[in-house]
Symmetry: C2
Subunit: 554 residues, 2 copies
């Protein structure tokens, strides 16, 4: 067996020789030799085109040969035993770094949060979609700037090259372009993957849920944008996890402000991503990054510093519209006029107390083109030693003392869908993503502190035996209840002790128990017991489902 593999392996090298030929074939002809051979310019272009086609073909062939060779090597490895089970399972039992299991208690909490969020999304007319957990790697390429290094890739097992989705926004854009959809109001709740440094107690994972709501379509300014801000407020209100503020800003204003301060246009994104760190680092550090790492001169940085410390409401927009430096920059004026309209709509939505126009808000991702916003939880002043704050011990200046971090964010991205369309057809989009992991963390800490035990199943009735030999009777009663749609369970022991059965009911907060006994069964009745009060009464077997429903409605 091994010998034959060995021979096959040698043959494949001898006959296919992928190592020598194709690498040579693909060497481009030196431009000079092409130039000498052809005289007319059209002929040159034609020839060059043919050359390029030939090169591309050869490159494709080479890559194909590499694929074949890789498959052959991997098959060989598999036969050698590379994928075989270890003789004894000695490895540490754990979930992958930065991931976790959800136990029933956590699932109950999580499902409660997700249900509430979906309710808000549906209240605004959202439709659900879903996309695969991985995408062709090319779909994600060039969308995330510096963060691309955090993308999980799948192993090349001899097929397409795939990567795990990094967010739900790029898959949405791919979905819209692929299906030529020009308007949709969709929500998507699913896990995304980032090879980031996990900080699990603060809800930062490598596998985590995103809950996104996006409005795609060509509409009048700020109507959809303001609704997204309203949705953030409704979600945070309904989850009731503490006081919050929604910071608002505008990418066009940021660009205009950079221009007004004298930042070179090709440095806008880099400076923007430095500003983005202001929620975690003091100005001095951010200024240092601008000057030392990003080559800005100190005076320009200081001008930026003047602006980014500003926050307020409609009066701040007025003030900036009158600012001599900004007034001269069309982008800044457009951004400010946008903010003016947004603030007006937000006030019609009753959000005045919840929002803050904040020039330090920048958002990390490259693809935003207009309004950006972020929902931030404030620390509770009444509970200085709350579990939420304790979780931050050991982090230096990672959070400002007044906030416990961002739990929602989003903005307008008008060009992303166009990046996928062969003719560049744009579909303007605006959306919001709820950072539920952080919300789960806050709620888990709250629950841990409160000692409340969440029920993790919905069993309504437990069917118990008062004495031995009744398991078949139990199965008959259970069948009757299940068929009537009642949630019921029993012990999977033939002859469990009555006390153990009743304890199970109390521990699991099951409201009702049925106790079967020969004496009662002979008369066609059973005992129905209310678990908390321990009151029992006799019920006719035939009337059992109805009687249980009556009790549960109380």
């Amino acid at each position: 067996m091994l010998r034959s593999i060995g021979r096959q392996w040698r043959c494949s090298v001898a006959f296919q020789c992928p190592c020598l030929c194709p690498a040579r074939q693909q060497l481009p002809l030196a431009p000079s030799s092409v130039g000498r051979a052809i005289s007319t310019s059209v002929g040159q272009q034609l020839k060059a085109q043919q050359q390029q086609q030939l090169q591309e073909q050869q490159q494709q062939q080479q890559m194909h040969k590499i694929d074949e060779e890789v498959s052959r090597l991997l098959a060989l490895k598999a036969k050698l035993g590379g994928d075989a089970a270890p003789a004894n399972q000695k490895f540490t039992l754990k979930t992958p770094k930065g991931t976790r299991d959800y136990a029933p208690q956590q699932m109950t909490l999580r499902q409660g949060v997700l249900d509430k969020i979906v309710q808000v999304f549906k209240r605004h007319g959202g439709e659900a979609i879903d996309t695969p957990v991985f995408e062709l790697k090319e779909v994600l390429t060039g969308k995330y700037g510096e963060d691309s290094k955090l993308i999980y890739d799948l192993k090349d097992q001899g097929g397409e090259i795939l990567s795990m989705r990094y967010d739900l926004t790029v898959p949405l854009a791919r979905y819209l372009a692929m299906n030529k959809i020009s308007s949709i109001k969709r929500y998507h709740i699913a896990k995304v993957y980032r090879r980031d440094n996990p900080a699990m107690t603060r809800g930062r994972y490598r596998e985590f849920y995103q809950c996104d709501f996006d409005i795609a379509g060509t509409y009048d300014p700020m109507l959809a944008d303001a609704e997204c801000v309203k949705i953030v407020a409704e979600v945070l209100d309904t989850l009731d996890i503490g006081d919050y503020v929604i910071k608002l800003n505008h990418r066009q204003l940021l660009d205009g402000m950079f221009e007004a301060c004298g930042v070179p246009a090709n440095n806008f994104r880099a400076i923007c991503s430095a500003v983005d760190k202001l929620d975690k680092s003091p100005w001095a550090d951010v200024r240092k990054e601008m000057v030392d790492e990003k080559g800005l001169d100190g005076a320009t940085a200081d001008k930026i510093g003047e602006y980014v410390r500003l926050s307020g409401g409609a009066e701040l927009v007025e003030q900036l519209l009158a600012d001599e430096k900004l007034k001269a920059v069309p982008n800044a004026v457009k951004g400010l006029e946008g903010m003016q309209l947004l603030l007006k709509y937000c006030s019609l939505f009753g959000l005045e107390e919840r929002i803050s126009f904040d020039l330090s808000l920048a958002r990390g991702l490259d693809y935003y083109t207009g309004v950006i916003y972020e929902g931030v939880l404030k620390a509770e002043p009444s509970a200085p030693a709350s579990p939420v704050k304790e979780l931050h011990n050991g982090d230096q200046a990672l959070e400002q003392s007044s906030t416990v971090g961002s739990v929602a964010g989003g903005g307008r991205y008008d060009n992303l869908v166009g990046m996928f369309d062969p003719r560049g057809k744009a579909v303007p989009c605006v959306g919001v993503s709820i950072g539920v992991e952080r919300i789960f963390s806050v709620l888990e800490a709250k629950f841990a502190a409160s000692n409340v035990k969440l029920r993790t199943n919905d069993v309504e009735v437990y069917v118990a035996s008062a004495h031995k030999g009744l398991h078949e009777q139990r199965l008959r009663v259970l069948n009757q209840l299940w068929n009537a749609g009642i949630k019921a369970e029993h012990s999977y022991k033939l002859n469990p002790k009555l006390l153990v059965q009743l304890q199970h009911c109390e521990e699991h907060q099951i409201p009702l128990a049925i106790v079967l006994g020969d004496a009662e069964l002979a008369q066609g009745i059973v005992k129905l017991r209310e678990v908390t009060t321990r009151q029992e009464s006799n019920v006719n077997l035939a009337d059992l489902p109805n009687e249980i429903r009556r009790r549960l409605q109380k």
Copy 2:
């Protein structure tokens, strides 16, 4: 650039030459040469051990070299352009092979199915858990037999070696062992990943949902097993996708039957996996596989053929308990006694018409140790040209004409958790997995045929403008409705045409519309319109939420 790659490539072959050396090194020494060199039996054993160690080392080295070579080839491929961002997005926009997006229409269908399944799981006291989408590769290793080659691996990006989950059963076993949980009744609904040959119209995908319910714990025989069969029946009843049968069998009986027929013990699993193909291939083909590929002698295969054509109920168990050959094999008797008990409990659950004890049922996975079952949809005799059957065109003998395929399956696996426990502590388990993708396919085909348009959002009220200049009024009314918990939307245009707005309501089956006009607003009233009847009436703005609720309850 290309030239330098070419050189590097040639160098790697020249210096490492993995193609010739390792394949030779690994050739085992012929036994005769070992025998000649050593005289004592202890010495022989020692020498043999050393030989084995040497061979293992060499094998390791070889595998390592293959890994290096594969990495080098893939790096070369990446440099050739495999991983770089294309200058313009010219690649075909698609989802990865074997995967699909779910559009809102499909999501509505899917959510309906999953909700019904969860309802059944909760009726039986199930608690939800969730696990990460990938596991340490070691967790999956050695659990799936021949199917291991279908596992998706993640790229080694300098951390743990990860694989995508292949089912939800192995992650459950890992979860139980890791958390030392000895009893749970859990359900888990999540996607799993298999690099199988997709057949998308029949619901076979590379990314697909599984809906699992499992009962873990040390209990009395068949009580939990029978409940799992009951759950399959309840799920298929509630989904109402056509007539079905639940086939039952027992791995111990299969093993006993193989033993009785004269199959060598080390060939049980291989023969079992041949029997497993009987639902897709005729006996002649399966017999051929047993004899030609798996080395069984023809007479033994024929004996197996006699048994696997049997199916029936309790009377068949009686008949087999009296069978001379089986009676003599303890495993067969134990399996039959188990079946007897299972059939009795199933009959107490009212399942007699739904189940069939079927000796041809084998199930593919290695880890089953007891009862196995499979829910199979029967073809509808009244609809010979139904979409479901049409989907099978082009497949030769893949399905028997009387069934459209398995939509649920499961069984008992008592040793899987123990494989993860350092001390091998076992937690007996039995469970069932619902094959929802197949069910989605059936339902999608049904819906496509019926021309019924599912609503994909839940909007209750559309807020419309009768004329220009009312967008701020619309926002105020929307805010009032949203704050009252009413699902409402409007056009994101400042001045949409009334007809367009009303058409939107009819197209999207929105039951109610509010029409704003200056004249009415001046009196504090709005028009409330029932979309289907087109009847309108005036309503006081202050009373609007209550009036809408009244209308919706009708």
